[in-house]
Every structure is written in structure tokens, then in C-alpha cells.
């Protein structure tokens, strides 16, 4: 019952779900709504669609027909097709193979994909009904086989880049978030413990509050780095040992030849399993580890200051627990942002979230694993700079809150109290 009377409990009861709804809205809106006009080229060599589509088109989609197949490379680079965002291949056997390829220059959001599928399906239904049955379109729709749509990047139709590299970055980003959360919680627990057992007053009689906080955050951060280094060394050594001892066949010429023979000419580009290739060939460990360390440090200092603020300002343990939830949600948002960037790289939203310090450590690891185009590496350094400046700024605020809140006990933490503490 005591918890129900707690103001922060009540606030969180309302704000928590609203925050989650906000996150979901942000995610959905980023994947469904777009103001851009998407121009679609329908490549209908045999003129099966007869230059027509059934239903009226939405405002953000426009279609043109062409009675030829355009190669992916031409579609991607030829001046003639520069205005087109998407191309839909209506192959000559579509009626029997039910297969449609959509090639894109920029990955289309869900709503655009849905619309495209809808128009192509509807038109084909009309054609099928007209040519092969006496059924009505709606009857036919009930019994027909659905089309299979396959999305291909016009710049990478064989999916050579694939999202595998992005997932590597995502993995590193997840590690950052995991470490930030683990060691952020360590900061919180450590501050709260010193506060609750009152030793903090003894410590403050020897060192300044800001020094104490900085020492604590840096000390825990250092221990995190040590732990991470141990992980890197042990995993690195383990992978090396695996390669030498447990799975030497994977890298032998015989094994590779066997694999190719087994697969025939299906996948001549890869002579190893994607996982093996990913682990031993695709990850640029030096780059990733350097930027992982930098983004981890920035993210840790940035988020760590929030954890320190909570630890120093909480009046009771339950207070603190409740204020951890919004931070956990922010970390969750960061993970979501990474996930979004894997699937929608190069969108305006993914550019922005790469600079926002709450999400940048995660997003930038994904971006980094995809590689930056020539002349755009500044984004990485700008993101780092923003992250470190924000972390410095937040540490200053955390220092003030720590100084004002650390010797307050058994109070009810209120937001206006926190705001007041940031001022002096």
C-alpha cells in the first residue's frame, strides 16, 4: 500500500506506458509514413499488364510502364532511370511462377511495400479472371495463389553486402548497451550503498562531491574496460584456437571445394559458411574495437551520469527502482534504433538518431559496420563529438545533483526537486 501512495509510483504508472506508446509510435511512423513521392517503373516486357493498374493510386505513388527489362545496374545508375525509386519486374511467366521482383534504390517503407503488392496483385487477378476463368474477381481472390514478392537492392541485387555486416555492428552496439546498463547499475548501486550506509559523509569530508562522483564513474568505467578487454582477449584467443584445432577443415582447400561441389553453382561467391565468413573475414576488428571503445566510453559516461543522478537523489530504494525504468526504456530505444538502422540505413531518421547521444552509440556501430561512403566519415566523428560533449554536460549536471542530493535521506523524490538541485 505504501508504494501506491508514492508520487513517483503514480507518475511512472502514467508516464511509463505513455513513453512506451511514444516509442512504438516513433517506430511505426518511421516505417509506415513517408511524405516522399515514390516513383515506380513497371517493367512489363510482354505487356501482360497492358499499361494499366486497377485501383486509384495514392498520392505518394506514381507508376510508369516500360515494355522491356532493365538490368539492375542500369536501373541503379543510368541517367534515364534516375527519377525512379522502385522497379517492379513483371516476368513473362508470372501467371505460372507467381514471382515478382521489386528492385529499390532506397529501401521502401512498409506502407509503400503494401501498396505496391496490392496494386500488382489486383491487376494480376483481373488478368487471370479475364483469361482463365468465368469467376468474378472476388470469388477468384478467395481461391487464388498469392504472388511471391522479392525485394532486391538495385545496387546490390546479389545481396553481397547483405545485412550480415549490419548485424555485426548491431552485435557490437548491443554489447555497448549491455555494458552501459550493467556498469550503469553498478554506479547506481554503489552510490546508493554509500548513501544508505552513510559513509558518504566521511568521504565528503576528505574529497569534493564532484571528485567523488567523477572518481566513482571513471573507476567503474575503467573496470568495465578491463572486463571488456578480457572478453576480447579470451574470445579472440578462443576463435584462433577454434580455427587451428577444432575446426581446421573449414579453412582447408578440400573442405571449400567440397562445399562448392555440394552447392553446385548456386552460390559461387561464397566459399565458406556465412557465419564463418562473418567471424573470420567480415569484421574489421581494429576499426570496430577502436570505435567500440570510444562509443562505449561516451555512452557509458552519458548514461552513467543518469544512473549516478538517480543513486544520489533517491530517498528510498523503491524510489530509485522506479526511476531506473525510464533509463532502461531509453536503452531499449537505443537497441530499437540499432535494429531500425539495420533495416533502414540511409533514411533521414537513421541519420538523425546517429547524432542523438541516447541512440548514437548503437546506431553508429551499425553504420560503421556498413562502412561510410567516401567523404561521409565526418558523421562518425561528429556523432562522437556530440556524444562526448553531451556526456560532459550531463556529468556536470549529475555532479550538482549528487552534491545536493547525496546527504538527503528518506525524502520523496520529486522532479521539481531534481530541477532545483541542477541549478546550484
Amino acid at each position: 500500500m505504501e508504494r501506491f501512495g508514492n508520487r513517483s509510483f503514480k507518475w511512472l504508472m502514467i508516464l511509463g506506458p505513455l513513453l512506451i506508446l511514444g516509442l512504438v509510435y516513433l517506430f511505426l511512423s518511421s516505417t509506415t509514413s513517408t511524405k516522399k513521392n515514390w516513383k515506380v517503373l513497371i517493367m512489363d516486357k510482354n505487356e501482360i499488364f497492358d499499361g494499366k493498374l486497377t485501383a486509384s493510386r495514392p498520392q505518394n505513388l506514381s507508376f510508369d510502364f516500360i515494355n522491356a527489362f532493365v538490368e539492375y545496374d542500369d536501373f541503379a545508375k543510368d541517367e534515364k532511370y534516375k527519377d525512379y525509386d522502385l522497379a517492379v519486374q513483371i516476368n513473362e511467366k508470372i501467371v505460372s511462377n507467381k514471382h515478382v521482383i521489386i528492385s529499390y534504390k532506397e529501401y521502401p517503407p512498409e506502407n509503400i511495400q503494401r501498396h505496391l503488392v496490392y496494386y500488382v496483385e489486383r491487376r494480376l487477378e483481373e488478368i487471370m479472371v479475364e483469361q482463365f476463368t468465368d469467376l468474378s474477381v472476388s470469388k477468384f481472390r478467395d481461391i487464388k495463389q498469392s504472388l511471391q514478392f522479392n525485394l532486391k537492392d538495385a545496387n546490390d541485387p546479389r545481396n553481397e553486402k547483405s545485412t550480415t555486416a549490419s548485424w555485426v555492428g548491431f552485435g557490437f552496439g548491443i554489447l555497448i548497451i549491455l555494458f552501459v546498463f550493467m556498469f550503469g547499475m553498478t554506479i547506481l548501486r554503489s552510490v546508493a550503498r554509500e548513501k544508505s550506509n552513510r559513509i558518504v559523509e566521511v568521504l565528503l569530508s576528505s574529497v569534493k562531491a564532484r571528485q567523488l562522483l567523477t572518481g566513482k564513474v571513471l573507476g567503474i568505467g575503467f573496470s568495465a574496460l578491463i572486463q571488456f578487454t578480457a572478453w576480447v582477449v579470451i574470445i579472440g584467443f578462443g576463435l584462433y584456437v577454434f580455427r587451428l584445432t577444432l575446426f581446421p577443415d573449414m579453412f582447408s582447400a578440400g573442405f571449400v571445394a567440397d562445399e562448392i561441389a555440394k552447392e553446385g553453382a548456386q552460390n559461387p561467391l561464397s566459399n565458406q559458411s556465412p557465419f564463418v565468413e562473418l567471424i573470420y573475414s567480415q569484421i574489421h576488428y581494429t576499426n570496430m574495437l577502436i570505435f567500440f571503445t570510444l562509443f562505449f566510453l561516451g555512452g557509458y559516461l552519458f548514461y552513467g551520469s543518469f544512473f549516478a543522478m538517480i543513486g544520489a537523489s533517491m530517498g528510498s530504494e523503491s524510489d530509485g527502482q522506479q526511476f531506473v525504468i525510464p533509463i532502461t526504456l531509453l536503452l531499449f530505444l537505443a537497441v530499437l534504433s540499432g535494429y531500425y538502422t539495420v533495416y533502414y540505413p540511409g533514411t533521414i531518421l537513421s541519420e538523425w538518431i546517429g547524432f542523438i547521444p541516447f541512440t548514437s552509440p548503437m546506431v553508429m556501430m551499425v553504420e560503421l559496420s556498413n562502412g561510410f561512403e567516401d567523404g561521409s566519415a565526418w558523421k562518425l566523428f561528429l556523432s562522437l563529438a556530440i556524444l562526448f560533449i553531451s556526456a560532459f554536460f550531463m556529468m556536470r549536471i549529475a555532479g550538482r545533483i549528487y552534491k545536493n542530493g547525496i546527504l538527503r535521506f528518506n525524502h520523496r523524490l520529486k522532479l521539481n526537486m531534481l530541477l532545483k538541485w541542477t541549478k546550484k
Binding site: 554509500e194 550506509n197 552513510r198 559513509i199 558518504v200 559523509e201 566521511v202 568521504l203 565528503l204 569530508s205 576528505s206 574529497v207 569534493k208 562531491a209 546527504l407
Partner: protein, 309 residues
């Protein structure tokens, strides 16, 4: 050594300290007295630079107190705190290092104090394994380990049994003898009378009294005298007649008494002696000074009355 000059502190529009000034001299023990919520802890935190004063300042050896001076202060807060899972020796060493001691000095001082308190056996015990009194002892060692010039102790005797109270009392007197200065905040008025040279009394953030213990008691004396005699009590009382008021008496035997009385009509000790000397055999006479406890209660109540008016 330390001067507090016109210090004021406000929290949420409430005055916690108002224009408080006093000085701690070298080699003295100063009692900082006051009821709960008087502002003593806030004052001690300001001296220790844990919080800052809104007005006024604190000096150390004539200079505005700075961070470097904190290494010369040993602070024992009322709310004791130690890392529960740390061993005694690690705890003491950690706090010693935090106060700028070298590891060699820490080791040396640690052994000195563990030997002195005869607690070498506790060395490897974790704080959580100690009783409250044992932990208090460790806390005391942590406070004095770096041999600070100034000790600021908030309720240093709380949680101790009488034997340990005496032990700590002796240590404090030893520190004083070596020229260290000490501020003690306590509600134990007997200790104040026994070991403090001077006292400052604050209430509701204001200083009400300052002076040596003797001065303060003298200033608050109520004209009470204690006279011991052998003889007849009735004859003694009749001899006093209306010029004196008997407040209390102690009967030691059939003809041995101690009487507490107040003078009336401007009478003095000589008048008293003249009045009774033919009736009883006087064995002792002295002015009775009020205890610090009485001074404390009287002063606080007087302030209450003034503010209620």
C-alpha cells in the same frame, strides 16, 4: 585554529543557521551544544566543506578554509558509516589513503591504533561481523588515523559502553595534550563538563551562549550555596530566620547534614556564617554552580519563552 564568522545557511526558505560566529583555539576542546535540529550538524558540515555557507565564512589558521585544509581535519559524523563488506584493515587503510597518507604511514598508524585499543585480532574481520560498539571503535580510528590538527566529533560517545567511553575520553585528552583542537557535539552534558574547555550553545540556528565551561556556569548561577555541618538541624534552621531560603537538605546521620540554600535580602556568605556559627559546627561551605545540563535547559527554555512572547 578555526573561526566561524557570521555563518548563515538556508534550506527551502528556512533558516538553518543565522549569523553564527565562534572560534576554536589551539589545544582546546570546544563543546558544540544544542537540542536536536539546532543546526549543529549543518555547522559541522560547513566547517568540513561538505556543504557551503550561504553567508559568512570559515577560516583555518587565519586563511579561508580550503580543500587542502580538509586533510588536517578528522571528522566523525553522527551517522556512522563504513563499508560493511570491507575488512577492518582495508577500511582503515582506504580512508587513510583518502586523507593523503602514504601507504607506509597508514601501515604504521594502523598498527599503532590496533595495538593501542588491543584489537589486532579484528584486523581481518569484515565490518559486518563487528558489533555496533566495535564498529564505532574502528570509525574512531579512521577519524584520528592521520593525526589531524583538528578533530570534529559528532556524538563521539554514543554507542559505547562506560569502559569505552572512558577510553575515548582519555584519547581525546591525550590529543588535547599534544596541542590538537577538538570540537565535540554531544548531548552528554557530563562529558562536556568533564572534558570541554569551552562551549557554544546554539538553538534554532542562533548562537545563545559562548564561553569557558566555568564562565558559563558562573554566569548562570542562581545564588545557591551548599553548607555542611554537624549539630542540630532545628537550631540551624531557626538561626537562618527570614534572611535565607532552604532549598534542599541531605541527612548523613542524626547530627550531620548538608543544606542547599539561597540568600535573601542581600545577605552574603559572611552573614550566613555569622548567623549559624554559634549554633552548629560548620564543616564546609561552597557556591553551587548549575550543571551544564541545567544551563542548557534553562537557556533553551528562556529562548522559547522569548520567541513565544
Amino acid at each position: 585554529m578555526i573561526t566561524v564568522e557570521n555563518v548563515s545557511k538556508y534550506f527551502n526558505r528556512q533558516t538553518i543557521l543565522h549569523d553564527v560566529s565562534f572560534a576554536l583555539n589551539e589545544g582546546e576542546i570546544l563543546g558544540l551544544l544544542g537540542p536536536n535540529g539546532a543546526g549543529k550538524t549543518t555547522l559541522m558540515r560547513i566547517i568540513n566543506q561538505i556543504i557551503s555557507a550561504d553567508k559568512g565564512h570559515v577560516t583555518f589558521d587565519g586563511n579561508l578554509i580550503q580543500e587542502k585544509h580538509l586533510l588536517e581535519i578528522g571528522y566523525l559524523p553522527e551517522e556512522r558509516g563504513l563499508y560493511q563488506s570491507m575488512t577492518v584493515e582495508k577500511q582503515i587503510a582506504y580512508l587513510g589513503r583518502l586523507r593523503g597518507m602514504s601507504s607506509v604511514d597508514v601501515k604504521h598508524q594502523l598498527n599503532y591504533w590496533l595495538d593501542k585499543f588491543d584489537i589486532q585480532a579484528w584486523r581481518k574481520l569484515r565490518i559486518e561481523e563487528l558489533s555496533k560498539g566495535m564498529a564505532q571503535k574502528i570509525q574512531f580510528i579512521c577519524t584520528v588515523l592521520h593525526a589531524p590538527k583538528v578533530l570534529i566529533l559528532d556524538e563521539p560517545f554514543s554507542g559505547f559502553d562506560p569502559l569505552n567511553i572512558e577510553l575515548i575520553r582519555q584519547e581525546l585528552l591525550e590529543f588535547k595534550k599534544k596541542g590538537h583542537s577538538i570540537i565535540i557535539s554531544t548531548h552528554n552534558m557530563n562529558s562536556v563538563e568533564e572534558i570541554c574547555d569551552r562551549a557554544v550553545l546554539i538553538n534554532k540556528g542562533q548562537k545563545l551562549l559562548e564561553g569557558s565551561i566555568q564562565e558559563i556556569r558562573e554566569q548562570n548561577k542562581e545564588g545557591l550555596y551548599k553548607i555542611s555541618f554537624t549539630g542540630n538541624m532545628i537550631a540551624f534552621a531557626n538561626a537562618l530566620w527570614a534572611g535565607y531560603e532552604i532549598i534542599d537538605k541531605e541527612v548523613h546521620s542524626d547530627d550531620t547534614f548538608t543544606v542547599y540554600l539561597k540568600m535573601r535580602k542581600g545577605n552574603e556568605i559572611n552573614d550566613l556564617l555569622n548567623a549559624v556559627i554559634d549554633q552548629v559546627k560548620i564543616t564546609g561551605i561552597e557556591t553551587v554552580l548549575p550543571s551544564m545540563e541545567k544551563v542548557f535547559v534553562k537557556t533553551i527554555n528562556a529562548q522559547k519563552e522569548i520567541s513565544s512572547e
